[in-house]
């Protein structure tokens, strides 16, 4: 059956405004220094029974003066270890684990500027064209004081060299040098795997941000 590419009326989106310096109150109140909700969303998102390799992601978000910001909200969205998103639009065949939502929220630390997310490494997700798989990646979205509209980017894994080289999204970035801004190096210590993903808001190492 054929349908029109457009349907119905178009209502303009509500404009974005900065999350401001006190974003923590609403979204990560514990970091703002008070306890209000019983159940808090956070950055440690894989329960003990969730299949997949346990990883920690750490990083900082630098402003154009090279300063590590200490008030940025960081959210991530990812597929599970089988490469499947916990969402009805994902009808891939990989196993769905309802206990793993795949979404994390944290902030850069008030003192150190470091954000920390504990999760599992996602699997490769089917690409837009349905044939080529995208290399494993985690979608990032950041908001803060001074950021007028949330910034979207992706983190890829340095140990997935072959998959990264074939990734349809990395490959549309014209300058190969800039692709590297999305690839997080892996380190292991006492059996704990950490990926370091620093985000540069501007400057020579400016991270690739997407308009998706």
């Amino acid at each position: 059956m054929r349908s029109m590419p457009f349907g119905g009326s178009y209502v303009p989106e509500t404009p974005s405004q900065t999350a401001g310096p006190y974003v923590h109150i609403g979204l990560i109140p514990k970091q703002a220094g008070f306890d209000i909700f019983e159940n808090n969303f956070g950055g440690d998102i894989a329960g003990p029974r969730v299949p997949g390799e346990r990883i920690t992601i750490k990083g900082r978000v630098f402003d154009g003066a090279g300063l590590a910001t200490r008030d940025v909200l960081v959210e991530t969205w990812q597929a599970n270890a089988a490469g499947r998103y916990n969402h009805s639009a994902d009808r891939q065949q990989g196993a769905l684990d309802k206990s793993f939502r795949g979404w994390a929220r944290t902030g850069t630390d008030f003192a150190t500027g470091v954000y920390t997310i504990r999760t599992i490494k996602p699997g490769a997700v089917i690409g837009r064209k349905g044939r080529k798989r995208m290399a494993p990646h985690i979608n990032f979205w950041i908001a803060s004081r001074g950021i007028n509209i949330g910034l979207a980017t992706r983190m890829y894994f340095a140990d997935e060299e072959a998959a990264n080289a074939a990734d349809p999204v990395l490959n549309i970035i014209e300058q190969p040098e800039r692709r590297k801004t999305l690839i997080a190096p892996r380190s292991e210590r006492d059996g704990n795997v950490t990926y370091t993903f620093d985000i540069y808001l501007q400057g020579e190492r400016e991270t690739v941000f997407f308009d998706a």
Binding site: G26, G33, R131
Partner: protein, 280 residues
């Protein structure tokens, strides 16, 4: 641009030459994995974000944006599953008072200030209500002070006011919460910069590309015309849609006034994919 029959119709071009080439190369081979294609490709892509509605990243009128704005253009990315999916929340994750800012932090009485109801609908760009989506709000107290360790404004902390709440839209996309009207407060943009009374909103929708944080203002506030953060929005009709209207019909007689604030997230365009089963 020639299109292979197995490739989905590309409706909003990424604009970058390389992206288009990649798209072609990918679509060139035939229907060998046609079944996989049917099951996996994105059903409904989102309308390209209308960047004229939103503030640009770099807005010198709001000084903090200067060092926190990317200078290289955003890279246009067509939707894949990574964009059209997003976190889903369920009402049982929230506490019964999470949406009641009058009581969710109070210990020995109600917060000081003018009690109000704020309500509205969360819609998508096609005007369709978005039910079951998480709405989070935060705000200053009646004196203009946030319960935040970095806020040192002279107004007192209200012991009975936390300043945040959250709710999930009902089956009609409707949300509401009770709170007190926040006060205006100064901020260090210029020496004498003041924020109009406002409530911060965070909304999800159903896909991560719909993610939105914004601020709601109050009808009639004279500070709206002087605010540097509102001034980042180039389109004045867009600013108008951030101003909640007094809604007397939703007020509680002899108790409190109400304000109406609808939020519109990006909508999808239902595309025709020749290689996809519709309605599957």
């Amino acid at each position: 641009m020639p299109k292979a029959s197995a490739a989905p119709t590309v409706l909003h071009g990424a604009g970058q030459e390389r992206g288009q080439k990649t798209g072609n190369a990918e679509g060139r081979r035939g229907g060998r994995h046609a079944d996989e294609v049917r099951r996996s490709t994105v059903d409904a892509e989102f309308h390209q974000r209308d960047r004229n509605i939103h503030p640009p990243a770099h807005t010198p009128v709001y000084k903090t944006s200067v060092l926190r704005s990317p200078r290289i253009p955003l890279w246009s990315l067509q939707n894949s599953l990574s964009e059209v999916t997003g976190p889903i929340f369920s009402p049982d994750e929230l506490g019964p008072d999470d949406h009641d800012l009058l009581h969710n932090y109070a210990t020995d009485g109600e917060p000081i200030g003018e009690q109000i109801i704020v309500h509205g609908y969360v819609l998508d760009g096609n005007g369709k209500p978005i039910s079951g989506t998480l709405v989070e709000v935060w705000q200053a107290n009646a004196g203009g002070r946030y319960r935040h360790r970095n806020d040192t404004y002279i107004a007192a902390i209200d012991p009975n006011f936390g300043g945040c709440g959250r709710m999930i839209t009902d089956e009609n996309g409707h949300y509401f919460f009770r709170t007190i009207k926040p006060g205006a407060y100064p901020f260090r943009n210029h020496v004498n910069s003041w924020r109009p009374a406002h409530i911060h909103f965070s909304v999800f929708g159903t896909a991560f590309v719909q993610r939105l944080i914004t601020q709601m203002y109050f009808e009639g506030d004279p500070l709206i015309a002087h605010d540097s953060i509102i001034a980042t929005i180039p389109d004045k009709t867009a600013v108008d849609r951030l101003v909640a209207r007094l809604d007397l019909n939703a007020a509680l007689p002899l108790e409190c006034l109400a304000y109406r604030f609808d939020i519109v997230l990006r909508g999808t365009r239902q595309t025709l994919f020749e290689n996809k089963l519709q309605g599957s």
